[in-house]
């Protein structure tokens, strides 16, 4: 999971243009400057490209729902990759 976290963190840093961003499980969109509707769209595109995966419609919308955080995102990506 650490390798996966590092890779997802790379994507976050690139999308939100923050080289110091550290990904922790309880982070939400409110904790990341720039994670608005545009940032979310860019994040989905970048994650799908980086990992060669495809999110379902419900998965994309659920990522910003109450109770969801980067831990949920990591688990979702893990379920779609071999990492």
């Amino acid at each position: 999971m650490d390798e996966l976290r590092d890779e997802v963190q790379k994507v976050f840093r690139a999308v939100f243009d923050d080289d110091q961003l550290v990904l922790v499980d309880n982070m939400t969109a409110d904790d990341v400057p720039g994670w608005d509707s545009l940032g979310h769209l860019n994040l989905v595109i970048a994650l799908e490209k980086h990992f060669g995966i495809r999110f379902a419609t419900a998965e994309i919308s659920s990522l910003k729902e109450e109770g969801q955080n980067t831990g949920s995102l990591l688990a979702l990506i893990k379920s779609k990759t071999s990492m």
């Binding site: 608005d36 545009l38 769209l41 989905v44 595109i45 799908e48 994309i60």
Partner: protein, 264 residues
């Protein structure tokens, strides 16, 4: 397939970026459609945002007016990278048609800003971060559009550019007759201005295609069309290309073709 059909099929797939990639599902929910839309069109190499179903419809309309001798030029209002108009020119050239022009009408500066009080949904869409920062209001410069025509070997004297807002350019456009008018200006006023200034030039048997008639979440395009049809007493049936795009034929003949469904 004939060589003409093969060329037009290849041209369509090239312009839509579907030779090697699947096009986005325009009926998918926005959450899924938008990432695919950005990847395929905005950051991709497709020259048109029209899905293949709409390119097929455009081909049907142009071939119909050629085969039936319907007099007039072809126009698209709102062209983005120009792909649909490149295709129009390609069809004319493939059939050795030399007496019709293709008109390419656009601001080439992106979508106009809608009035916030009159058109709140459009104003919200126009000012959204995705529209302003990512889609750049769909602005593509006229030189880039000309380059796209040239890349396909289709930039010649039969391609006529109309640069500016439709309310300024269309009233005095030197077009006598139109055979196909494809309206893709997205918003209410763009659609209304195109209909008001062009429809009286459309020959009987010609076609009007409305790209966003079925789109309700961010535009009042449908309202502009419905109002115009009511004002003008137009009762030619509307036919559905897909969930968003509709068209009608200015005639009493039936344009019904395979895959086109009458509006319920």
């Amino acid at each position: 397939m004939t060589s003409t059909a093969l060329y037009l099929d290849l041209l369509k797939k090239s312009l839509t970026g579907t030779l090697f990639h699947q096009e986005p599902d325009s009926d998918a929910l926005l959450e899924r459609f938008m990432p695919d839309f950005v990847r395929h069109y905005i950051r991709g190499s497709a020259i048109t945002m029209l899905p293949l179903s709409r390119m097929d419809n455009l081909q049907f309309c142009v071939e119909s007016v050629i085969n039936n001798g319907v007099r007039g030029d072809l126009i698209e209002t709102g062209v983005w990278r120009g792909g649909a108009t490149v295709f129009m020119r390609g069809i004319l050239k493939a059939y050795n048609i030399a007496d019709r022009d293709v008109w390419v009408a656009d601001s080439f500066e992106g979508l106009p800003k809608p009035d916030r009080e009159a058109f709140p949904l459009e104003a919200k869409a126009h000012s959204s971060p995705v529209m302003t920062k990512l889609l750049n209001h769909f602005a593509v410069g006229i030189d880039d559009v000309k380059k796209n025509f040239a890349a396909y070997g289709l930039l010649d004297d039969h391609v006529r550019f109309l640069k500016g807002w439709f309310k300024d350019t269309l009233p005095n456009v030197p077009i006598t007759y139109l055979a196909v008018m494809r309206l893709d200006g997205d918003f209410y006023e763009s659609t209304r201005d195109a209909l008001r200034n062009l429809y009286h030039r459309l020959s009987p048997g010609g076609y009007v295609i409305i790209d966003d008639y079925g789109e309700k979440s961010w535009t009042y395009c449908r309202k502009a069309v419905d109002e115009f049809r009511a004002e003008q007493g137009i009762d030619d049936p509307l036919f559905q290309v897909d969930s968003k795009c509709f068209f009608w034929r200015r005639s009493t003949g039936s344009p019904l073709a395979e895959g086109n469904r009458p509006l319920a």
